[in-house]
Symmetry: C2
Subunit: 145 residues, 2 copies
Amino acid sequence: MAELRNLSRSECEALLRRGEVGRVALATPTGPHIVPVNYTVSRGDVVVATAPYSVLGSSGRDTLLAFEVDHVEHAQQRGWSVVVRGRAEMVEDPEEVRTLGRLLPRPWASGTRTLYLRIPLDEVSGRRLGGGWDLEATMPQRPTT
Amino acid sequence: MAELRNLSRSECEALLRRGEVGRVALATPTGPHIVPVNYTVSRGDVVVATAPYSVLGSSGRDTLLAFEVDHVEHAQQRGWSVVVRGRAEMVEDPEEVRTLGRLLPRPWASGTRTLYLRIPLDEVSGRRLGGGWDLEATMPQRPTT
């Protein structure tokens, strides 16, 4: 059985900055939901892109959300996962919205309009499975704001 | 921008049967949470492995859960995601527990004891991003019960 250990806050933040796709868990009137999202790290927070009338756009503002990004290599029995939890707010600053429009791909959000939700790193946790390898080497570096 | 389209129920089920790692979203007393899990398909339901005293083991029984599995290829701008939602119950049948113990890896569940949660496919949805490629070829086939 591969070793499972907790990641430090700085390890978690370094991995967060390298990802592009994660998943958001949210409470909805019909129970928990989970949706894949494109994201980036902007001004120190996770920012996810969604459509205004999606499940996330409708039920994910001004409420607690959980966000997860991971990388798993089945054959090598190794991987890592980082989870962020915090109260999400819509990005309102026009300058930041313009920057996000350039930086943040949003293929998982259908429709032509984009809503950006900011999830502060109120709670950050991470785990890695398997030792002796460079976590960050598993993800391509991407520009962040 | 790559094409985003919905998957049929049978496409979703075929993809579910090939995965090994997914994520579960659940409601907890402190808000939504999301945890990576090893899973299999057993008797037509998604069954995830967790530890009895984990967040999922504590707050994930006899309640609504959402489960997601996906495969994303950044460079090709293509991928798919399948989401299952249903009321989870602990697997109680001793024979099924023994079978799951043989079939289901559980490296993401720490500790020595395993709790199996069954999530019925009450609601199944999926989306694919990008066309012209074989979705199932993205995952290795694995045995299921």
